[in-house]
Amino acid sequence: MSTPRSSSPPLRSPEQLHGDPAVSTDAARRTPAPPAGTYLGMPRFQKNAREQLANEQLRKNLRHATGTIRAKRADRVAEVPEWEELRLAGEAIKNRTLRHLDTYLVQLEESLTRAGATVHWARDAAEANRIVVDLVKAKGVDEVVKVKSMATQEIELNEALEEAGVAAWETDLAELIVQLGHDRPSHILVPAIHRNRSEVREIFLREMKQYGTPAPEDITDDPAELAGAARRHLREKFLRAKVAISGANFAVAETGTLVVVESEGNGRMCLTLPETLISVVGIEKVLPTFADLEVFMQLLPRSSTGERMNPYTSMWTGVTPGDGPQEVHVVLVDNGRTNALADPDGRAALRCIRCSACLNICPVYERVGGHAYGSVYPGPIGAVLNPQLRGIEHEIDQSLPYASSLCGACFEVCPVRIPIPDMLVHLRKQVADHKRGPHVESTAIALAGWVLSDHKHLELAERAAALAARALPHTTHLGPLPWPASPWTRARDLPMPPQESFREWWRKNRGEERR
C-alpha cells in the first residue's frame, strides 16, 4: 500500500472537526490550521456516526441541503429521454479506458508533451506532494491559488505546501469556508455542506481579516452577501498569484486536453491568470477521445449540481501561446488506484467522476454527514473507494463497507453505473476474511450458518422459539434487553416468536396430503 502515514495523533472524535477553531491556531503558519489528527487514526464509522447523529444542527443542515439537491437532480435528469443510454455509454467509455489504462496514459503523456506541458508521475501522495512543492519552490513564490480538487485533498497537498513555507489558498467558496473554518470537507461537491449560512458568516467575520481582505463588519447571513465577501477576499489573491494548482475532471488522451468543471469562476481565475499551472490528476481521470466529452458533459452537471450545464467549464491543451499560463505541469498520481484496478470486482469504483449524486441520495450520509467516513471521499463511493485506495488495515477502513443499509439508491443515481451495493458486499467479504480467528461476529455467523444449513437444524431452532413463546403466552413484544439483544432493543421492541412456526402449521394442516 502506498498510503500516506502521518505521525500526528489520531483524532479523538470527529466532533473535533467541527470543534473550537482556536485550538490549533499556530502563529508560524501561513494558512488556517486544519483540525489536529489524521483520517486514518479515526475510530470506526459506527462510533463517529453516533456522535454526528447527536448534532441536531448538522442533521438539519444536511437534510435541507441533500433534499434540495436531490430534487434538482431528479428534475434535470428527467429532462433527458436517453438518460439510461447515456449512463451505459459513460460506463462503457470508462470501462474501456480502465481496461487499457496503460495505453491511454502513454497516449495522454505524448499529447500533453506535444502541447507544451510537462508530465510528472507520482506513485503515492508523498511523491506527488514532493513534485508539486519542488515546482512551486523553483518559481520562488510563497503562495499559490488552488482550484477545488479532490486529488489534492486526497494527498493533503495544502499541508505539504504549508510545511514548505508556501501558503495554498483555496478559492472555491465551500473550500474557502472549510479552510477558514479550520475544518475538513464533508462532501465531494459542496465540502461545507455541514455549515449553514449563519455559521459561514461567523467564520468569514472572524477569519478573513487574518488572511487578507476582511469581510464587511455589517455583513448579514444572506448567501449573496457572503459570496460577495468571498469575491472581494479572493480577488487580490487572484490578481497577484504567480502559480496555480488544480485537479482535472477529465484528461483527454487523444488531444492532451484537461477539463475543469466549475461554477464560480474561481477555476477560470486560477487556470487563466497565473504564469504557472500545476494540475494534479489521478490516473483514472483519462478519457480516450475529445468526442467522449459529449457523454460526460451531459452526465456530470445534471448528476452533480442538478443543472443542465454548470456555469463554467475550462478546457485547455498544454500551453496556449499568448493566453493563460505559459508553464504547464501535469502530475499523474497513482496513490492506491492501481490497487483498486487490480481487483476485477473493485475496478468499477475507478469509473467515479466525483459527481456526489450517491452522497446526496444516501439515507446514511444524509443523517451522519461526511466527517464520519474519515476521508475526503465520504458517502457510498467513499465507503467503497477508501478501503480500496488505503487498504483495510485501519479500523475506519474496516468499518466503512458496513456503513450502508444496502438500499441501492446510490446505484440508481450513479451516472457511470458503479454497482456500489455489490461492491460493498465484496469488501465486507474482504474485511471478514481479514479478521482471522474466532470473534463474536464470526461465531454468531457460524452458529446461524449451522442452523440454516439444513432444515432439520432450523426445525430445532423453531421448536426452541415456540417453547419460549409458550412460556410467555401473553407477551407480544420484548422491550429493552441486555447484550447481545441490546443493539436492537435499545430503541426498538422485538416481536415475540409465535407459538407455532409456519412449517409446523403446514405439517398439521397440509402436510398429510402434500410434502
Binding site: N61, T68, I69, L86, L88, A89, A92, I93, R99, H100, D102, T103, L105, A115, H120, W121, T171, L173, I177, A192, R195, P223, A224, L226, A227, A230, R231, L234, R235, L239, S263, E264, G265, N266, R268, M269, T272, L273, I283, P288, F290, A291, E294, V295, M297, Q298, P301, R308, P311, Y312, M315, W316, T317, T320, D323, G324, L332, T338, L341, A342
Partner: protein, 216 residues
C-alpha cells in the same frame, strides 16, 4: 524503476485479466456520437435556457448589431471595455460612438488593468440550445481567456448559425479548434455558486452580468 515505469508496470500487472489488446474490440460502446437532435425551435430554446440561467438575451437582425451592442453596454452601466483584436469593426465604432472607453489588449493588459475595466465584448464559437451554453474558442474575435473573465460584464454576440441543439453537436463543432490547441471556455449564465445551503447565488468571481446578443 522510475515512477512512470513503475506506475505503468503496476497498471499492466493489474490488468492481466484483460486479454483483448484492442480497446475498441474489448469494450464496445453502444452510443452514436455527434447525433443531431431535431429541434425546430432551436433559437427559442437557446434564448429560454440562457434566460433560465439569468443571462440577459436580446435578439436582433445583423444590421442592428452595432447599435444593440452600444445600447446594451450603456444600459448595463459599462463605461469602459476591452475589445479583442479582431472584433467586428462596426461594433467597435458603435461602442466608441456611445462614449464607452475602449482598451485594447495590445500589448497585453495586466490583471490589475483588466480588473479596472467594466466590460468586454466578444463573438462566440458555438451556442448550445438545450443547456443555454455559449462556448468560446478564444479566436481573435474573442480574445485570450482573461479578457472574458476579469471584467464584470461580458457581452457576447452569438450568430444564429452558431447555435446547435445539443451538447454532442457542439462537441463535434469544437473538435477542430481543440485539435489545433485552442482553449475552450463553456459559459452557462453568469458566475454562480450553490455552496451555502445549496441555494443558488449568481455572481462570484466570473462576470456577474452576462449579456447575450443573438443575431438572426
Amino acid at each position: 524503476m522510475n515512477a512512470r515505469e513503475e506506475i505503468l508496470a503496476r497498471v499492466r500487472s493489474a490488468l492481466v485479466d484483460v486479454t483483448q489488446p484492442d480497446p475498441v474490440l474489448d469494450v464496445p460502446i453502444d452510443w452514436e456520437y455527434g447525433r443531431p437532435v431535431a429541434m425546430p425551435d432551436v433559437l427559442d430554446r437557446f434564448v429560454e435556457m440562457c434566460e433560465d440561467y439569468k443571462a440577459t438575451v436580446v435578439r436582433c437582425g445583423s444590421a442592428e448589431v452595432p447599435g444593440r451592442v452600444a445600447v446594451l453596454l450603456t444600459g448595463a452601466g459599462v463605461r469602459s471595455v476591452v475589445l479583442p483584436a479582431r472584433l467586428e469593426p462596426s461594433w467597435r465604432q458603435a461602442v466608441e460612438a456611445a462614449g464607452v472607453a475602449i482598451h485594447d489588449d495590445e500589448p497585453p493588459l495586466s490583471r490589475t488593468e483588466l480588473d479596472a475595466i467594466d466590460g468586454v465584448v466578444t463573438a462566440a464559437a458555438v451556442g448550445i440550445a438545450e443547456t443555454g451554453t455559449i462556448v468560446l474558442d478564444h479566436a481573435s474575435d474573442q480574445g485570450r481567456r482573461a479578457l472574458t473573465l476579469v471584467p464584470d460584464t461580458h457581452l457576447v454576440v452569438v450568430r444564429s448559425d452558431q447555435v446547435v441543439p445539443s451538447v454532442p453537436e457542439a462537441v463535434v463543432r469544437l473538435s477542430g479548434a481543440v485539435a489545433e490547441g485552442a482553449a475552450l471556455t463553456w459559459i452557462s449564465g453568469p458566475s454562480a455558486t450553490s455552496d451555502i445551503e445549496l441555494s443558488r447565488v449568481e455572481g462570484v468571481h466570473g462576470p456577474r452580468n452576462l449579456l447575450v446578443l443573438l443575431v438572426e
